[in-house]
């Protein structure tokens, strides 16, 4: 029973990280139908920049720096890789965002080195015992932080006029453009938000794992699975999908072998696509002729 609870809890912590990254995919997919195939690198860079800044200030004071860096990085991704491809309506953005990711990973390796580094934890690193389950305070922080940033963005989209522009662009870019919304700017903005959340996810997860240029690749990939399983259009879907994947892979890692822990993700992904292509919480779009 304790083991089961332990798996459940650990799965939740990692699952929430997946959820935040998947949420980032949803932000840009909603406004532009594109997403950053190099999101894992945005996460890794966020963590590495955070690590450098944290050498001078406290973890808490570092957070805004990481967020701002993430936003700037998102703007760069949109301007360099996505916008030129969207202007000619090609699938080139997939290749371009991948290429940018490859470049940034290489650059990060040359700046911070190829070795993974320890990331200072802002909270005590001794586990708490609750119902016989070992809980790291950082894991609680991950869950809390992930929920907080998703709620903050959701609230921004619903309450503020800028957020309304984002929602309008997401539901009908042409109409939003005619109503005076600068949809190009909205798309850039959604990329900034998206990469900022990825950078935030980076500094959340880094104290639990390690920070390094390669830390993001598999996280970004699993968030793909989460986004598809939960539905590319549903925030709740991202959370449920993240938890599903986090728990299933922690369980696989424990009961079968850590080597196989990535397998249930793909199986889940293919199953959901076969049974409910729009995702568990997604709405299928109506095509117009």
């Amino acid at each position: 029973m304790d083991v089961f609870l332990q798996i459940l809890f650990s799965g939740c912590a990692i699952g929430m990280i997946y959820a935040v990254i998947a949420f980032g995919y949803q932000l840009t997919f909603a406004t532009s139908g594109t997403l950053n195939f190099g999101q894992g690198e945005a996460l890794a860079l966020g963590a590495l920049v955070g690590l450098s800044v944290a050498g001078h200030v406290s973890y808490w004071a570092m957070i805004p720096f990481a967020l701002i860096f993430g936003a700037l990085y998102g703007i760069a991704v949109e301007r360099i890789a996505v916008r030129p491809a969207m202007e000619v309506k090609s699938e080139g953005w997939i290749m371009a965002t991948i290429a940018l990711g490859i470049i940034m990973k290489n650059v990060a390796e040359n700046i911070w080195g190829r070795e993974d580094m320890k990331f200072p934890s802002p909270v005590p690193e001794t586990p708490l015992q609750v119902f016989g389950v070992n809980i790291l305070p950082m894991e609680l922080l991950v869950i809390g932080g992930a929920l907080a940033i998703m709620l903050a963005i959701e609230a921004f989209n619903r309450k503020s006029i800028y957020g309304k522009a984002v929602v309008a662009t997401a539901s009908d870019p042409a109409a939003a453009g005619l109503m005076g919304v600068n949809t190009g700017q909205v798309i850039t903005f959604s990329y900034a938000l998206s990469c900022a959340t990825a950078a935030f996810a980076g500094i959340l997860i880094a104290p639990l794992t390690l920070a390094g240029a390669g830390m993001g690749a598999s996280l970004g990939l699993k968030a793909f699975a989460v986004a598809i399983v939960g539905g590319l259009t549903s925030g709740i879907g991202a959370i449920v999908g993240g938890l599903l994947l986090g728990i299933s892979e922690t369980a696989t890692g424990f009961y079968i072998s850590t080597g196989y822990k990535d397998v249930p993700g793909l199986v889940l992904l293919l199953l959901v696509l076969a049974l409910k292509p729009a995702g568990l919480f997604g709405k299928s779009a109506i095509k117009k002729v």
Partner: protein, 657 residues
Amino acid sequence: MATTRKLLPWIAIAALALFPQVVPNPYYIHLLVVIGIYAIVLFGLDIVVGYTGEVSLGHAALFGIGAYAAGLLFVKAGWPFWLAIPSAIAITALLGAALAVPALRVTGPYLAMVTLAFGTIAFILINEMDFLTNGPQGLQVRKPVVFGHKVTALDFYYFTLVLVVLSIVIVSRILASHYGRAFIALRGSPVAADCMGVSVYKYKVLAFIVSAAFAGLGGALFAFSEEYIAPNTFTFELAVLFLLAITLGGRRTRTGALLGAAIIVVLPNLLSDVKLFRILSAVIALGVGAYAAWAVTTTRTTIREIAFPVAVLAAFTLFAFTLKEIAEHRLTIFGLLILGVVFYLPDGITGYLKSLVRKWKPGLLHEHTEVTERGDEAHAWAKSAHALPEGQALIEAKGVLMQFGGLKALNDVDLRVSPGTIHGLIGPNGSGKSTMMNVLTGIYRPTAGSVTFQGENIAGRSPARIALNGIARTFQNVQLFGEMTCVENVLVGLHHTFRSNILDVIFATRRCREEELAARMRAASLLAFVGLSELANEEARNLPYGRMRLLEIARALGLSPTLLLLDEPAAGLPPSELPALVEMIRKIRDHHISVILIEHHMDVVMSICDRVTVLDFGQKIAEGAAAEVQRNPKVIEAYLGAGAAESSDGEPQLAQA
């Protein structure tokens, strides 16, 4: 010219066959083998990327699966190589199917995302399952012994050469067949492809499976060529490299794939030597600089436009000459190369060369097979389908409700069309006519209500199935396959007449050839029927608007429908041609094809429709013979407003709306 074109491949093959005799250097021979193997993978990848327009990041993994399947069957199961290679192809194709069947159910970037995940997982599994694959240590695969003769590297060179040539023949045959036309059509207009009975989903899946089979063949050859396979060959980087190759070489050509393969095989060698890399970047910089100077002075482009790429290239060259250790920056260079190709050479090298040739000598390029058949009336029509008993409706919609959110685009509409009639469907803009079309053809699934066609309920069936059942349509906003010629467009409509399967196509069996000839004859006849014979080999996108609509009619007739839905066929036609259109619709009816006609030209509607249904705000407001409906006050009100119906001096009539 035509003879040189035919000779060229033979010269290339002869040159490659003689190469080892002239240059007996094992290094170069091996390099050519690897290029050939990559080319085979790229021929397949091109079907997915170039033809169906999807992006696959899983081809490195499929390539690896082919290699491991062949290697394991050969080494561990002791199968002969001639059995191991086809089995490897089959296994890879099967896995490709397992991937494509769910992933292609949705459009968008899904295939790229799913194949990326698949690639990573395959990599992990090959690493982890060391009881089978030897894990990270890799697998030793010796070249086979055939009839007591140990196959040498040179033998293998010729073996690969033969397989590359065979692959080119097979891929070209598939792409020139009705399968190839289906692949191009579904990218041109997915909706129209579905409505021509060519299921977009089915053919995308098929394209991916064929593509996976080629990746499997490439992988199997790779295992025997390298004699050693390890998981770290089949990485994400290789998948990206394959995509780069197909983009850089040029999509939708075999030459492009060969060129791309050669580049990605040679590239790592170029990037491992700083000197070579510097020379290369200097040459590119000089070339682009010269082009930029020429383009600006001849005002082909502005300084503003070209400043950014030139600046980036200058920075890149500077970077090339300042870096000390190239290995550390290998991936950065690789990434920059991809960005450069995606944005400045999107059609690849062959695409760029083609565009040059097109500018200088447009007649030199033959991108479509010319169809020379002259059609005649007799070949235009299929044998007429079984006639329905008198009095039974051909199609009957009952209580159709189509709701989008809170909006009821159709509200409890009944429609009944008798066989052998022309049924008009009119109403002001936004009254739900086109929505009704979409419900009848399966593009929308009605929220409530039933649609019965020839006694079967078809509501909820896929558009492709409904089309094959015998309902053809044209589109209000033209949905032609723009890059295909007129005759090819009609041939897509005739897709259903082909019984030959993919093996028939690969072996070019008699059945396949006969069907193609018959289809061409009929396509030409249909074009003659709508008066487009002269434009048969013209690309559809170059047609004037009115002609496009006529082409849509010819294509729809290709389906040999029982019911034809015409959505505003007269739009874009000059008034002088309206009588010919009316005559054409009558002739269609005389060939036992019932017609539902949406049209705003009331004179057309009134002169040929046996019955007319009027919709307004999603509801049926009138139905009856043309003349009756014309006098119906509700109809006049809908078109002209409430006042018009009352202030009637004499008899108000709806003549033109």
